[in-house]
Amino acid sequence: MNRHSFLLNITLILVSVLTCNVQAEKPNIDSKVSFSEHVAPILQKRCVSCHGSKLAESGYRLDSYRSLLSEMVSGQQAVVSGGVAESELFQRLIHEDDDLRMPAEANSLPDAEIELIKNWIEQGAVYDGVSPDQILSSLMPSRKHPSAPESYPASLPVSAIAIDSETKEIFTGGYHELIIWNRSGQLLQRIGNQGQRTYSIDLHPTNQNILTSSGTPGLLGEVRIFDRQTGQLIGNLIQSDEVILDAKYSPDGLRVAVAKPDGSIDLYDAKTNKRILTLLGHSDQVTSVTWHSDGKRLGTTSRDKAAKIYDVDSGRSLATFSGHTDCVNALEFLDGDEVITVSDDGKAMVWSAHNGRKKRDALSGKTPLLVVSRTEKQYRIGGANRLLTYELATHQKVAELPTDGDWITAVPEKEDSGMLVFGLHSGEVRVGRTENGIDQFSAQP
């Protein structure tokens, strides 16, 4: 008897696939359904969070036309041109079993949206964008945003701030607008047609362009450029499916760096608005980009708990700073080859830009640190309850400004040596010549 082997009796359960009977209707030739205009927004809104670049449930993505049409892990086609019955995607939208119908654990899509998708498939599932690899959010037409409210019913956190060093005018991000104030808090100008929230404002070093990153949380991100004089939208570099937290001009104003939600950084030519290069390396949303004054290096921070420095010409990563235990919010180049980063973990860390090693904790607390900026002789760290100013040469703390638990949410990218200004979660802006003479105003129309 052979006791050293035994039979594994595997019972295969054959599953008969239900064939759904869907009445094929005549396509409505009168109303041609556009992928970019009609279908992409539905997929973007309803599906991409589970079937996209961050998460691909069941191995299936549909964040571009090409991936939408590719074969699924199961071997089926999600979309078959002209055939709704064979299009698994469509069948799953109308499935009777709650466990199988998409979107998972939610009500089925509104009939009108299902109808649009059906018609699009029946009309041949045609693509009407530029490249089938474009992500859906970039397909959707550059939008006209709703007007800002005349006056705000509640305070909006100041999530972006900039200062014009010549005029001393202060720019803040409002609700669907940019707002320009004088230093005593008088409202000078409102620039509309902007995304819901503005996350960064950068003034071009030589011309009149205002570079902004913005978005609607969970839905949309944009990088929009406005003409300062006319307030007109003059450029829209990118659309993404999540807010864009930062976009910065290079010191010479020739290039733009964009911190993208998918963990990459795009570099654009500021004249042509064309993308030059994409920097890869972060594994989660990029929270900030900071140009070195030499214009050759770019510092980046990310929710992946790391910060990096890239060579912007070659796209090579020069150093990676790993040590924070939570989202890294901002980075600044200090003197002497040093870099400082601040994080939600409550720490400010100083690193060697040369070898990526950590030199010391500049600050260690329990509450998040959100911003860091520098002038010629000083650097500042802002967090959940105070703004600290240090001497660059000595690293000695020279001033501490408490904010009573009001988070410091924005400092200007290009600090003005004669003027201290920052924005707060409460919606206030503080401004002064020095830490000892601070005024404040509510940056809310």
């Binding site: 199961s74 609700y175 839905l219 989660d284 959940a384």
Partner: protein, 833 residues
Amino acid sequence: MRNHLIFKRVIHAGLAIAVSVASLLSPSRVDAAEPADTIQIAQLKVYPPVFTITGAREQLQMVVTGVLSDQSLVDLTGKATYAVEPADLASVNDQGLLKPMRDGEGSLRVTHGDVNTIVTFEAENILQRQRVSFDYHTLPVLAQTGCSGGSCHGAPHGKAGFRLSLFGSDRELDRVSLTHQMAGRRINPIEPTKSLLLMKPTGEVAHQGGQRFERDESQYELLRDWIAEGANTDSGGPQCVGIKIYPETGRLLKFPNHTQQLSVIASFDDGSQRDVTHLSKYEVSNPLVAEVNRSGLVQGLDRGESAVIVRFANFIEAPLLTFVRDIEGFTWDEPEEANYIDHHVYAKLRQLQFKPSSLANESTFVRRVFLDTIGLLPTEEELEQYLSDPSPTRREELIDQLLERPEYAKFWAQKWGDLLRVSTKLIGVPSVHKFNRWLEVSVASNQPYDQFAEQILLATGSTRQHPQGNFYRSAADTNDATETAAQVFLGTRIQCAKCHNHPFERWTQGNYYGLSAFFSRLQRSKTNQKDEVLLWSKEDGEVVHPATGQTAKPWVPVAGEIPTQESDRRLAFADWLTAEQNPLFAKIEVNRIWAQLMGQGIVEPFDDFRDSNPPANPELLEALAKDFVASGYDRRHIIRTVLLSHTYQASSDTNPWNEQDRSYFSHYRPRMMTAEQLVDALGYVTNKPEAFFGVPVSTKATWVPAPDLKPHDRAKIGSVEFLKVFGQPERQSACECERSKDVSLGQALELLNGETVNEMITAKTNLVHQGLEAGVDSLDLVKRLYRRALSRDATEEELKVHEDYIQSHQDKAQALEDTCWALLNRNEFLFQH
């Protein structure tokens, strides 16, 4: 998508088969009782009888109970009709939810059939604006709708970058996450309904967590208004001091009247009360027995018991509901009760309509009781002696003999070694032997359990002189000592509370540090002797609560903060622990003994006591604990009492009226022998006992003092170890769960062609080969193998099969080896049954 689909189909198909088989085997369920619509109600009771509703956002859930002529109760909340007087004062829906429309006093007439009753209520401040409370609206809504649950944003690192504290236990963390983090993205102060916090859970923005509520539900309204009011997170105002659930624990529901609406009323420190039924979070402890919806409506699914765990703010209650059902053809035959254990077990079985199995036959009993008391199979001689004993009380006599045997002490000392983590890695080889010896003497001398616990917990001085002090070497710091003491002596897995409030229990982080304050002053000083530590107490030193920064005062469950001696705080803990009034101490140990003998605790897992994990039979647990205390914490007495019960002695064969029972001890639950029992059993059957390193040659696996006595051998790393494969714990944790009860492929392979079994079967010095050499007849050897392995004689049929097989082979030795191997792979051998 498609593979997803196929997977689900397979599961569904599997379930369908399981269900249909079950329905073939079990008597059909007939709901013989009448539904509530037709039963005769003697009286209606409405809860709460009087109530004042204060505030525009408040409402009141009524619970209507019908009292039948036999005094049994049915929930009629969803079946009664409601009429408010005056009619414009409030509205009431079909499920008894009352919403005031203006201020005033009024009455509610509740009618069912031709019975009715009237309750009064008052409504005030209904038309004034009532701000949404962060603590008592916002956070409860997030808990109730699952947002802050452990598998979603309440996970230690949150989900998709959004982290909430588990069920809202850390308001500061939640405040920051909701209002500040990521540039305040979750809240839109300008257009509140466009807040991510509302658009995600309603599905307007794609949400991995699915749709959690609709826009017309009160949960949506509360979150929306909270944002619109400025996302206020002030903690001012009256503080909640507790919740009260109606009905109280123990309500009996009989199919087909198996629904129960709950009412949850929160009390505040200003004396006010609020109905929070629709803001509480509900879970059931036994999802096979009951389910509960978000409004606190419980629905029975099957007979049995389940606690409903009700959570509001940081308060938890867990009322128990019992569901019974008339089973067709069920009769109660008044089985004989051997002692109080049977009395309580049978009462529960009768109530739930399970019929106990008859007693196991003699050979099954002998095998079972040997394995449970001394860990070994009965020898051929012991079996013969018992079976030929004509005494009518031979079961009782056997139990008494076994409990006096030295193997009993060794076997049970090993169980304690597991819990107290006796291992060379933690305390070194000499201490392993000393501590094990101490445990063995404790069991052999039947040391009262309270003294046993005190001697361990209060160990002072040299661990060489007081080997039980090694407890504090395995539990090498304050936290470890706290957690181990809580787990072993309080049956509580308190570790969770170290970092956050316990997810299923009323244990808070404060309690954890309060408990650890008893152990914080204990010092462990090394001496120049290897393996020796001096235990002594400092007179100062405090534990600081990491979240509040405050000094933790010594605290124990039920009694709360208790005074301590400055000299050694452990004294106060041990005094409290072993006091007769302590409801936990005795229950934990009797339940542990029960679980070791029955294979399943009355509370299961047996070291996880909590309100949300109720005992299968509270009366039985109570009675055992009472007997234990009355006997002077006599562990042997409890073991003996259990072994004498007909519940223990019942057959593992089921009948049509108890095969569905998994919890109430209607039949014996077969279980695989432990790793150590199995090795000893294999050794005995083949007469090739395994030898172990570092102990005398004849030492059984069930006596080995530690799992890691053998030297560290790099060459052996990765080689399969039989004991480990069968679940022997490494003793790195005080949790009983460390002993794996899982059945694995590795085990099957070990038994089929593993080295250990193969060597035993093929050894020339084993029973078979020695027997053949001595000229013993092959079939006689087979008969002996049966008696050794299964404690019974082989049947004629079995003998025939073996005879045919052996006859057909030239090589008798090979054929007998095969026979032995087949026998050792039978479930009847591997299992204790």
